[in-house]
């Protein structure tokens, strides 16, 4: 699997009259993990939706390996680029195996039978997410963390070079948040999958992403490695929060400590 890059150029996009993205350009390097951070309503999810072609920009475009995603047939695009929304819906009574198998949709045709390649992709996705043992269980019966693994397994079965995820750790306990981000990092390192995700938790974003994109007011405030981007000035400008940024004693990555009004010793 070769690494793929995404390029957004001068995006202007929104819903109806309301402009949310106002001139966003972004280069997502191939084979890297990019995390988009920013305050609520800064346009981070909208940017992800435009990258995934769920939303057509009013101006500008998105290039996947140099090709305009809006020119690609949707099935072809889905073979190369996967998207996991914030709250996907699991049909009642569906089994883990069945749900993960649906990730093969873009690789199947109306009359194309389930193939050995499909079988292998699903088995591989289940193994990679440690869900093989639970393959026959109903998705409704799983914990929040396990359920998120199932969705990631479905996206893995899709076997795309690029994976976009909208807040994959929301609603999860901290241990499951770390678990999901570890899993995505494995994917990135071992398969070269290019990962772009919107993340809420700034410190986890700095720890797991190769590239941070800080957004504010529908524009990109700054892009770069976490060491350059996660600064006290950025936290103040983007989140309106006074903070102290120190070096994480474990990884050496920057770590933000909010000050708040009761921050003193």
């Amino acid at each position: 699997m070769s690494a793929s890059s995404l390029l957004a150029q001068d995006l202007v996009a929104g819903y109806g009259e309301r402009t949310i993205l106002d001139g966003v350009s972004l280069k997502v390097p191939a084979g890297h993990t990019t995390a988009i951070v920013g305050a609520n309503a800064c346009g981070k999810s909208t940017l992800l939706r435009v990258l995934a072609r769920l939303l057509t920009p009013a101006k500008g475009g998105v290039l996947l390996n140099g090709k305009d995603v809006h020119q690609l047939p949707s099935r072809r695009l889905a073979q190369q680029l996967g998207f996991l929304p914030q709250s996907p819906i699991a049909p009642e009574g569906i089994s883990v195996l069945e749900l993960v198998s649906r990730g093969r949709h873009p690789h199947q045709g109306l009359f194309k039978r389930w193939s050995a390649a499909d079988e292998a992709a699903v088995a591989d996705a289940l193994a990679a997410t440690h869900m093989s043992e639970l393959a026959e269980r109903h998705v409704d019966e799983l914990s929040g963390g396990q359920r998120q693994r199932v969705w990631i397994a479905m996206a893995l079965a899709q076997q795309t070079d690029v994976l976009l995820l909208d807040e994959p750790t929301t609603f999860l306990d901290i241990n499951h948040q770390v678990d999901v981000l570890d899993l995505l990092t494995d994917l990135n390192r071992e398969r070269g999958t290019t990962i772009v995700m919107v993340l809420h938790e700034l410190n986890l974003a700095a720890r797991y992403a190769d590239q941070l994109v800080a957004m504010a007011g529908g524009k990109v405030y700054a892009v770069g490695p976490p060491e350059k981007i996660l600064t006290e000035a950025m936290v103040r400008d983007v989140f309106g929060l006074q903070s102290r940024v120190i070096e994480d004693p474990i990884t050496g990555k920057p770590m933000m400590i909010p000050l708040g009004r009761h921050g003193g010793r």
């Binding site: 072609r53 393959a135 409704d140």
Partner: protein, 357 residues
Amino acid sequence: MPTCSLKLHVSNRSTAFTGSAVAALKQHAARRMAGGAVLLGLLGLAAMLSVALGARNVGWAEITAALSGQVDTMGDAAVASRLPRTLLAMLAGAALGVSGGVMQGLTRNPLADPGLLGVNAGAALAVVIGIAWFGIAETQRYIWTAIAGAAVAACAVYAIASLGRGGATPLRLALAGAAITAALSSLTTAVVLPRGDIGGLVQSWMVGGVGGATYDQLLPVLPFLAAGFIISLLAARKLNMLALGDDTAAGLGEKVAVARAMSAVGAVLLCGPITAVCGPIGFVGLVVPHACRLLAGSDYRWLLPFSALGGAVLLTFSDVAGRMVAHPAELDVGIVTAFVGAPVFIWIVRNRKVGSL
């Protein structure tokens, strides 16, 4: 917390996975096959009862005689007249079952039924206007009028739901459908009320029944039903995707608007003509797909054929029951399905996580 390694032992694990999962799949498949066989058996039984029972009960000899084209005795004649009725009941049940399954899938609403897109109300208004203002009386004209009304109503609902950003979302379809249905129903009442002369005619159509069916009624709807069945089955894969949510479906390469429009056309083609011939028959489209989910699972490629069988079984049995209950008179099948359907409906609402379809 185990660290995830993608390289380690993938082949071993996938063999292990394949073993257990294949066993599970075989078990599911076996259960599905058994369920399908039971439904087929029930359908055969229902068809036989439907031909045999009624104001005059007939025996084997008369049934086989009538089936081979001989009409010598009263019994033979009864059987011959019950054949088209039985066929219509089976077709109507199958069409409503599939249509309901498709409608629930495309709106992701477990309480959706074929009437949701305003189809029944549109057909009813068109027929009533036809009777009241244009004096139509022939069956053929009824059918065309009702189909036209159903189509116009469904298009209107779809157009209204598509206004604004985001297109025809499940919620908007349900709201637009409810609003249009209410509006059309009051118009229907407004047309009928001042016309005491046509009240009875309209009323008998509105209850919903398959009694007195003839081949002349049956034939014109066949092309519509055939098209409806084919389109619905082709849409089954798309419904599987829509079930995961619009964004996930789009991420998996499905054109959500196309998928939804195609499914809607299939559902309307199935339930419009049936409403035209039988009048609105409630609950079959609502209840059957739910019951069939227990047998077929959530994969629409299985669920829709099962719903066809299940709908045919339910409607045919209901029709037979309607003839038995009020013997030697008859209860219209629409009333019987309501009696069967209402408790099942309540059971669904109480026992299932409504909204998580």
